[in-house]
Structure formats: structure tokens, C-alpha cells
Symmetry: C2
Subunit: 217 residues, 2 copies
DNA sequence: TATACACAGTATCTTTAGTTACATAATTAT
DNA sequence: ATAATTATGTAACTAAAGATACTGTGTATA
């Protein structure tokens, strides 16, 4: 869906005003296209050649990677103002994506062509900063996952997972099943149910069918 | 230790010929200084402002991060041809390092000033590729750690750790104590000793005081 | 309304990992 | 040579997490 130039500029100004310089916003608007995705749509898939990369205007994108044994590892989520940093390398080398980007919530984004990445890197300081920052944010995110896995026991990881869901979904009432949590944390449904029950007894959450209410603080 | 221009060019040519274009090698040589570090020397420390970043000519650098509770997380190692990608963000924002780089083996490197990073990004394609590749390699490395923690049991992680040590130290005979392994893998010495004994009985390694011999294949 | 299905609860057992405590062997310092 | 230190071995116990199996209960649908 290609919307007109004014619309794109307006959107970029709204969501990336503090990130990109004015001239760059115009450049992106000129070369970008507006796109929307429904929940569970796949924005980028493993093994596909990449021609465009998204700048997220709003919504929620889940970045994951497939393991051997058909397991999917949840890496992190992209929100408003984010981009898929991990894709940049694929542009530089014209290779294929090794990650999957799925719409976890309906997504609005601006897709820009990969062949502009380098040109903008040469011409716009804010673009260089954006790219390095994007990578860095993801590195920090991955590091945080490593810490959690290395130091925290499952109960804490589950609670942290739920708290993060509250933050990114902007609601205390999570529509989610125990099985889904088990998938994201790479464990079994039974273990999740058991520990969720503990968390409920500690007063930190409230369980209902297909729904978990996370108590404040 | 500032060596002369010819020496730096020679070194860069030897170790980065396939990475940087000729003009960039000259630029780096002009602005860089040669430095060496003894085992256990700290190249970059947490909380320090960074003025220079190393390009590793040879040796081995351990990148780690301090956790709360004074625990240190091993992230990865840098070898010949590598640089400390994670530091780039600190240059862009002129902030302080959140990571520690320690010489695991004696290190030779060329230190280049952070204020050149941007300039080179504008002027040299190979530099842009190098930076994005560096970040990407580290992301892959972190992802690999996440996979190991999430899917493998300790026995496999220990064996993988040892195999990696063999690779980066270029020897089958590792001078290492059980306690050191325990620190790197965030567990206790007793657990490591127990599992190493298993690995020995499986014929994968041979244990001696302060020394572990890793069998071929 | 009857039936099937998806989701959750829980008991029991096993495996893996962490803890404590102590013994012994090799190395270094006095 | 003797003592102190460092590294390792191992037993016994506890805790955490995974596996299996079965039950109950809403929800959808035939």
C-alpha cells in the first residue's frame, strides 16, 4: 500500500522526529512505502531475500529464530521507533534473512529499500547513529536474556516475561495460554502451570482461562 | 608504544588486507598506534571513557560484563582481525564502556582514535561493512550462548566450552582449573569436577592437575 | 443437548544441578 | 623437610525442573 508523500512525511515526523534529521525524513518518505500487517502476518521470513526493511510506526513485531528440531527461539520485540537491525548485514551482503519477524499485534510501518542503507550512511549522521544504536540495543537485549538464563530460576524468568508482556502490550490483562509461555521460554506446559500457581499464591498474578492478570508492582 | 608508519602499514596489510581497502589501511596506519598487552592486562574497563579502540593483530581478548553481585559474565573472545564492536556505540555517544576487555593471552593490536570512526564510515565502504559485520558476528555469538543455555545441559555446555578453548588457544592441552571453568559457566566447582569426571569416563577428555587434555573428535 | 476439544490443575516420579562437608594429592613457601 | 596452600575427588543431601499420566472444566460445534 503506497500512500502519498505528505502522509509518509507526516508519519515519519510523528514517530521519528527526534531520531532523523529533516532532510533524511524527506529522503525516507520519498523512497519508502507504507505497509500494514495483521496479527500473525510474517514481515520477514527465514531464507527469504530481503529487499525492504521496516521502520515500525506502531504495533508489535516479534523477532525469532528457528533452531534445529523446529524449535523457535524468541529473541525480542520491536516497537514504535524500532527497526530490524539484525537485517542490515543481509543488505550489505545481499544474503538471506536468518530471522523471522512476525506481527504479534497489528503493525503499521514504513518499508525502505535496502539499497539506500549505504547511501544514507554516507550522507546522514542521524542515520549512522540510528544504525549503531539499533545494533547496540539488540546486543543489550540479548545480553539481558543471557543474564536471565544464567542467573535466574524459572519463577523469576516467568514473572519477568509477564511483566514485559504487560509493558509491550500496554495492558495488565494478558490473553495468553500456559502453552504459549512454555514455547517462548522453552519449557513444558506443566512446569509453567505449576509455577504460575505459585506466583498466584504469592499474590503477584491472578489466573483465569486464557488470561493472566498481573498485579501492579 | 608508537611504532613507525611503515611498520603499521605492514601489520595492517598482513592482518587486514582482505578487510580494508588500501586507502583506508593508510589512514588507519596514519592515525593508529601500536600497542601490546600482557596476559591479564585490561584493555578497556567498565566505567572508563574510551578514546581508542583496538584492532587485534594477534593474541586473545576476553570480553565480559559485570553483573550485580560482582559476578562476571563471559561474553566472547576476540581474535586476529576482530575489533570491539560493542564499543562503537560509546564513541557515537561519547559515553563510558559497559564492558571489560582483558588479555586472555598476550595481545598485539593497533589502537585507533574513536573520533575517526564516523569520518571513515562516510569515506570507506570497507569500513562500513566491517562495522556492520562486527556487530553481526557478536549478535550471532550472543545468540549461540542463548541457545546453549536454553537447550543444552551442563555436560554439553562444558564440552563445548572446552572445544572452543582448544580452538582459540590453538592447543589440545588446556592449562585451566575447574574453578575457572565454573566461573565462566556460572556454576560451582564441585559440579564442574563431577561432570568433567563423566566426560573423562566417556573418553572425551583426560584430566590432570591444572590441565585438561581434550581428545580429538 | 451432546460431544469433542482446548486449557488448566495436580500428583508422582526422574533427572539435573546446586550445596555442604570432608578427604586427599600436588605444589609452593618457609 | 615441613607446613601451608591450591586443586581435585567424592559422598550425601536438597532444590529445581522435566516427564508422564490422569482429571476436571469451560467453550465451541455438530
Amino acid at each position: 500500500m503506497k500512500k502519498n508523500l505528505t502522509f509518509l512525511k507526516e508519519q515519519l515526523h510523528l514517530h521519528f522526529k527526534d531520531v532523523f534529521e529533516k532532510k533524511l525524513i524527506n529522503e525516507i518518505a520519498k523512497n519508502g512505502t507504507y505497509a500494514t500487517y495483521e496479527k500473525n502476518d510474517i514481515l520477514i521470513d527465514i531464507g527469504l531475500e530481503m529487499t525492504h526493511i521496516p521502520l515500525i510506526i506502531n504495533g508489535l513485531v516479534k523477532i525469532s529464530r528457528e533452531d534445529t528440531h523446529e524449535k523457535e527461539i524468541l529473541l525480542y520485540f520491536l516497537e514504535e521507533g524500532d527497526t530490524c537491525a539484525i537485517s542490515f548485514v543481509n543488505c550489505i551482503h545481499l544474503s538471506k534473512s536468518m530471522f523471522r519477524a512476525t506481527a504479534e499485534e497489528p503493525v503499521e510501518c514504513i518499508m525502505f529499500p535496502v539499497n539506500k542503507i549505504e547511501e544514507w550512511m554516507i550522507n546522514y549522521k542521524t542515520w549512522r547513529v540510528f544504525i549503531i544504536d539499533s545494533y547496540h540495543t539488540r546486543l543489550e537485549e540479548m545480553l539481558s536474556v543471557i543474564k536471565d538464563l544464567a542467573f535466574f530460576k524459572l519463577e523469576n524468568r516467568i514473572y519477568k516475561y509477564l511483566s514485559n508482556q504487560v509493558k509491550i502490550k500496554h495492558t495488565d490483562d494478558l490473553i495468553i495460554t500456559h502453552q504459549e509461555i512454555a514455547n517462548d521460554l522453552n519449557t513444558s506446559r506443566v512446569v509453567i502451570s505449576r509455577i504460575l500457581k505459585n506466583l498466584e499464591q504469592e499474590g503477584k498474578i491472578k489466573l483465569n482461562r486464557r488470561n493472566i492478570h498481573v498485579s501492579k508492582y
